[in-house]
């Protein structure tokens, strides 16, 4: 990374675009709420009050941060290398199922910490396994990962639903679900709080990824690939291998996010259980400007939205889909903000050459 790029990565200017985008999304969302006959200010007040200012709300927000942090740190590795892993949801589900089955097999027979580590490892393996198919298709046949990872989401929905009705099912219960992990064997709470230690796992993941990109050679290589694939090839970087690794790693992290939810929240895997973190993670990693440490505040913010959104549905009669709408608006406003930012930087420094936001991508059959 050049000195200039490093500085721009550290400065606060890129953050302005994200904050403006979020603000704009809230304004447009507010107008939309009013247009559909809601009291926008009251709805936003409940959102903040319940998601942030109340004790239970804050606890829930911190809990929900964990899967977002874990999944986002993996997604960041992929996106920084220019790998479009849109299969987070599928990898999450398979990882969750793997970890739930592992937990159900081990619970009570081994010490809890051993079980947790095994379950997170199983989640990681599940996610990697699910990302492996798009990765192999890319290596062997040159298929771009966008469509294959998308398709794998829908396959995962069906495969996990089948497994949880058949081989992975708890035989004692009629409903299609894995054997429940008793409360006392779930992830312990952080001392002095009601938040389970998944949050710490998430923070560790982010720190690892930050170290990867700040001070390791593979991280540097991934960045070069993301910025200019052709240059990376000419520089002798093993582009194909690293891109596959990035895809697999991001799948593994998504799978660990699944393990986190099984052992921190649900205690089991149910058929058709898909919280849909994929798009949220995508939005938040983009708004964090692909910066590892900035993911932490943005994960907190998006988690707060998801938690507050549930309260909005109950107390202000605003359907929970409003949060998804808001996420979409944020990304759309972010697109506008990126454009304005680019014009601004071109005006201030005409030297600005190519912008990562307009880099090209081919869909299939890349032969470099």
């Amino acid at each position: 990374m050049t000195e200039r790029a490093r500085l721009s990565g550290m400065s606060l200017t890129p953050l302005v675009s994200s904050l403006v985008a979020i603000l704009m999304a809230f304004v447009i969302g507010g107008i939309f709420l009013e247009a559909t006959g809601k009291d926008a200010l009251e709805a936003y007040r409940i959102l903040i009050d319940r998601g942030l200012l109340s004790n239970t709300g804050l606890t829930e927000t911190l809990k929900k941060m964990a899967p977002l942090l874990i999944a986002s740190s993996g997604l960041l590795v992929a996106l920084r290398a220019g790998v479009w892993n849109i299969g987070i949801d599928g990898q999450f589900m398979v990882g969750a199922l793997f970890s739930a089955v592992t937990g159900a097999a081990l619970v009570g027979d081994v010490p809890d910490p051993v079980m947790w580590i095994a379950a997170f490892a199983a989640g990681f393996i599940g996610g990697v396994a699910w990302a492996l198919i798009p990765a192999l298709l890319r290596v062997r046949f040159g298929l771009n990962e966008i469509i294959t990872t998308l398709m794998m989401n829908y396959v995962a929905l069906n495969v996990t639903a089948w497994l949880v009705k058949g081989p992975a099912k708890d035989p004692k219960i009629v409903a299609p679900q894995t054997r429940q992990i008793p409360l006392e064997h779930r992830l312990p709470k952080i001392p002095g709080s009601d938040v389970h230690i998944g949050l710490l796992v998430g923070l560790v993941c982010i720190i690892l990824v930050a170290i990867l990109f700040r001070s390791t050679v593979p991280g540097f290589m991934l960045d070069v690939i993301g910025r200019n694939r052709r240059a990376a090839v000419h520089a002798g970087i093993p582009v194909a291998t690293l891109m596959v690794v990035a895809l697999l790693v991001s799948g593994g992290f998504a799978g660990m996010a699944g393990a986190n939810d099984v052992f921190g929240v649900q205690g089991l895997f149910k058929g058709n259980w898909n919280p849909g973190y994929g798009f949220t993670a995508f939005a938040l990693v983009y708004l964090a400007r692909l910066n590892s440490l900035l993911i932490v505040p943005f994960a907190f913010f998006f988690s707060f939205l998801l938690v507050g959104g549930d309260s909005m549905a109950r107390r202000a009669d605003v359907p929970t889909y409003f949060i998804e709408l808001l996420e979409g608006l944020m990304l759309l406003c972010f697109a506008v903000a990126v454009y304005l930012e680019r014009r601004w930087s071109q005006r201030t420094a005409r030297a600005a050459s190519s912008d990562p936001a307009t880099t090209s991508l081919a869909v299939a059959g890349e032969s470099e």
């Binding site: 198919i133 998308l150 949060i323 998804e324 709408l325 697109a335 307009t358 991508l361 081919a362």
Partner: protein, 314 residues
């Protein structure tokens, strides 16, 4: 002749009829997306445009009890999303994958919100009935008669669009411009083609068709809306466009193939072959990946697909 107590003729009729019905939205959305892709736009917003078409089509049909107005509502819903996509990717030149996914997320949130708010999330059916016509003599042929020659008028209109789109792409100046813009916007611009306008028209057409496809699903076929009802069909249509090599005839064939794949599961279940719904449910998605593998390297993507165009910046 019977199999497990089911008449084989009935089985084949049902399978052909269902398969062709399921193929329609895929074919329609793919036909439109040919123009977007050929003009250099990778339209991941197609899923959102289709879903938008489903909801606004259903809403219009529910309120007016008219199939035609329902279809128009769906077209408007798809077009609105497409223009948003066009503005951000063509005008502002923001990354197409980012914008496409943003449109898909936005449409999922918007339609989910409005459906919950306006219908309380209940599954109400629109009181519409798409009129059918029975073609004399031909409809008396066993199996293909009832499956092909006794269908809704809109069904025939949809399939009639295949030659129309082939003509539009290969025989008109607009089609030529679109193909030129997708291969080399710079050369096209130098030759006097308005690149920006051509791309807007192309994405507009893709949005209209995606909305139409969604409306067909929600209005003509099912007459209900359910949240997230497209379940990836827009993405499948996008893949079929590529698999069909941007050729409307091959795309129609591909859509029928995937429609049949959908229908196969239903039909096997009717006959009593013990196959689980989950296996049937994932067939189209696996099918797309297999088809991509089989055709890998055999199709040449439009050279400028995914690349924004700015005059004088190469």
């Amino acid at each position: 002749m019977t199999l497990n107590g089911i008449d084989v003729t009935d089985f084949l009729t049902a399978m052909l009829a269902t398969g062709l019905l399921r193929a329609v939205p895929l074919a329609i959305a793919s036909l439109g997306d040919v123009f977007a892709q050929k003009a250099g736009l990778l339209n991941l917003g197609i899923e959102g445009m289709m879903l938008s078409g489903c909801f606004f089509g259903f809403h219009a049909a529910y309120k007016t009890e008219s199939v035609v107005l329902g279809m128009l509502g769906g077209i408007a819903g798809g077009l609105a999303m497409a223009l948003l996509f066009g503005f951000l990717t063509i005008h502002l030149r923001v990354d197409q994958v980012l914008v496409g996914l943003a449109i898909t997320i936005f449409a999922a949130g918007l339609t989910g919100y409005l459906f919950r708010d306006w219908y309380g999330g209940q599954n109400v059916a629109a009181n519409v009935r798409a009129r059918s016509i029975e073609i004399p003599l031909l409809s008396d042929i066993p199996i293909i008669g009832p499956a092909i020659f006794h269908r809704q008028i809109i069904f025939y209109i949809c399939w009639a669009l295949v030659p129309v789109f082939a003509w539009l792409l290969y025989r008109t100046r607009f089609g030529l411009n679109v193909r030129a813009v997708g291969e080399s916007p710079f050369a096209a611009d130098a030759a006097g083609v308005n690149v920006i306008r051509t791309r807007y028209l192309a994405i507009g057409l893709a949005g209209v068709m995606a909305g139409f496809a969604g409306a067909f699903l929600a209005v003509a076929d099912l007459r209900i809306f359910t949240i997230g009802m497209t379940v990836g069909q827009g993405f499948i249509a996008l893949a079929i466009t590529m698999l069909g090599g941007w050729n409307p005839w091959r795309i129609a064939a591909g859509a029928i193939l995937f429609g049949m794949l959908n229908a196969l599961g239903d039909s096997l279940q009717i006959v009593g072959v013990g196959i689980r719904t989950e296996f049937i449910g994932m067939l189209p998605y696996i099918g797309i990946m297999l088809a991509l593998v089989v055709l890998a390297g055999k199709t040449q993507l439009p050279a400028s697909l995914g690349v924004p165009y700015a005059r004088g910046q190469r």
